[in-house]
Amino acid sequence: MKNYLKLVVVFAAGLLLQNCTSDDREIIIDNPPPSGDYANGVFVLNEGGYTSSNASVSFIDDSGEVYNDIFYAVNGRLLGDVAQSMAFYEDKAYIVVNNSNTIEVVNRYTFELITTIENDILTPRYMTFDGDKGYITNWGDPADTTDDYVAVLDTETNVVIKTIPVAEGPEAILNNNGTLYVSHYGGWGYGNTISVLDAVSESVTSTIAVYDVPGDMVIHNNDLYVLCSGKANYTGDETLGGIQKINMVTNQVTDEIVFASGVHPGYLQIDNNALLYTLNREIYRVDFSDFTLPTAPLFSTISQNVGVLYGFKIIEGDIYIADAKDYVSNGEALVYNLQGQFKKNYNVKLIPNGFYNNN
């Protein structure tokens, strides 16, 4: 009888007295590129899981080598919760971290942290620059449809110096020689306008009515093209999507492509003579000379098994596609040429959503 007890006690003591654990997570810190910095390549922003605080930045250099988790590798801490977008100004990169309500300012070549902007930033989305000022779209409290704004940043001090109230859900922001165009994608609700802001007077000068849920915008020959997804079926109030051409002198819609009912395009990019947009997992091309709805896709990403097409960018004659998979595993960056031929894929991190050329 006593032996059993002893056995039990010895067994228990053995278990209890171990008070250290092994470290089994391995964030593999890639060595920096041989050149010593992150020039000559493309940054991939991985937004990470919502509230998981595991956003990261990958870098694909010109030789095709991938360097993951570079913010962590250089600065020794995590980037934050949902990296939304990134913008360059002089030798700085501004990383907009949506759910952290921060903008991380780093040197765009060394990736060393310069500062973190925290004040007057609330649910930030995208950023652009004019002169020495930065302009950041903010949803504010996402459930409040009346507190949305564009923050004006002094790039010398990296302090927000003014906020400009705008309609709900300001998303993309584009600068055309001091005139800022802001598409109102919608945050809690759904937007259907573009705000026109004057960078000097820092005020809204005009509002352009467009189709529902406007997102990406591009400029070609003094015309602004905006892609509107339309309200999806699950909203209970499905509407048509479209690509609208806006004269930037008159701020009038001069032409448009309307999508069929139930068709909701995703992202818009510009190649020299054409617009390219995504629809589910396919890419379509519209030539400026023939501004009509294409009948067939340029190419499909289905043969590369893309799960969710979550980022789309044309960089130096290549099409970059981000595959977010199931949102709960590491994603991929895929590269196609402008004819839609698949060239290469790169393993990146959790939920890639954007590409930024650092050449």
Partner: protein, 609 residues
Amino acid sequence: MNRYFTLLMCFSFGANFAQDAPVTELNEVSLKYIKLKDSVYTTTQTILSDSILKRNPTSLTSLLNYNTTIYLKENGLGMVSSPSFRGTTAQQTAVLWNGININSQTTGQTDFNTVNTRGYDQVIVKSGGGGVVDGSNAIGGSIYLENKIDYNTGFENDLFLNYGSYNTYGIDYKTSYSTKNTSFSLGISNQGSENNYEYQGTERINKNGQFKNTNISTTFGFKLNKKNAINLYSNIYDGKRNFSLPTPNALESKYDDFNTRSMVEWVSKFKGIISNTKVAYITENYKYYPNIARDYYSYGDVGSLFLKYNLDYELGRMLISGGFNYNQNNGEGSDIKHEKRHLGSAVLGLKHKVNKRFLYEISLRQELNSVYESPFLYSAGVQAEITRFYSLKLNTSKNFRIPTYNDMYWEGLGNPDLKPELSYQGEMSHILHIPNATLTLNGYYNKVQNLLLWTPDVNGVWRPKNAENVKIYGVEALLTAKKSIASHTVDVSATYAYTVSTNEKTDNQLIYVPYHKLTTAVGYNYKKLSAYYQYIRNGEVYTTTDNASEHILNSYMVANFGVEYNLGRKNNTYILGAKVLNLWNESYESVLNRPMPGRNFNVYLNFNI
């Protein structure tokens, strides 16, 4: 929009210490002595009661984390918490309040940090499929929250006060009075904490993590005559939590829960027949404030009516049971269409004690409803006492989980064509009775089909569907031991689980399911002095479906140590106790980037008169 939708869906995630009972108790019933009861004989149950409830913090999360094989995912201390029982998902553990399934009708799961264990006399953990008896969600196992109705105990009062680090406080008072034919009890528990602990190795503290809750439970029992008794049960839970910030500059949010449960039970016994009728009404209500600075909130609100009738008929060595259940849910929410649904089922069971050493049981359940496919469920098993020291149990069962309100009725996204999840499982238990100790070894296999998941469609929009099949197998070892020499008593209880839970398509381990979990509790008692030590070790878990190593949550161990002294005399207890939580100051997380507290302290007083 996806991301905000995801957010919504995420919220849509011991007194007289062991002087006479081991720290945890395996609910073994010897076939020799007892009459057959309406309970399950061929699977494993663990009872947590008395000292173990008092020595653990009040959340069900903490109780189960330190005493069972269940893995608990906690978004920081006191925040949203969900279980993984035997490698299953958060919705595949059924929680029953005095026999009534209380898993949320909106999310399908119970937030284990919204159950205050001080409101109950015992918590029973039942491993493995229990669909026939417990209904939907009982795939990994079931947790029973039970109130006992005692007679002839006189007037009793129990007051428990505690205070600790981070301004954590608790006041629990229970009073009961019973005579030969009537019984009454009232328990009030009030808990709260600033919960502003440091994140070890950083400059950060747990901001906006404060919580408080109140639980009131009452029972009444009336013996009308020798054959009939009426029992009344009620419970109110009012919880207010701020959600701790994932990053320092994040928007501050909060979450309120208000749940009520009430039940009337009529038990009637005559000539080998026990008839049991239950009528219960439960309400669940949550309010989520995405910004604490504003009054805006989103909500979910469901009221559920249960009617349960069961009749047991004893025929020689057999117990025949039959019954039916009717359940009506009436719910709505900010994003949920108002819907009423009616669910019914009929149950038939047979237990047969063939001889003193061998028993078999079979039970069947047919679901009856118009909302989704109505599965036919079964459970069958044997128990054999092969020698005095060794018993064997075998059980096989088919179980299910119904789609939730969110799954079916979410505005625009809900899918009315969903099928229930089905689980087919088998298990074998070996029970070894060695002197002063019992060791149980379980092996099981569980195949889950039509797993209900919200997955992105080609547009990246999250929608619910019957997405995957999962294959789970594992082994468990449960040990309880107790030994007294002179005035010294030592008792030990330990659990270990090895769990493999893989997605059939990818062969990858499910996220937040550790391969290994170990718990150990050792208690020592010498006259009026007691000491106890709890230790758990959780193996690493994956947080991504591709099992990528850089997203792994590290394995960790946590230990607590406490001492208490009883100043009371005779039947009165006045216990003064103190404990150190996370004794070794381990830095750990059970959900990615949600740090848990380091070493902290708690003192308590318990008066029982």
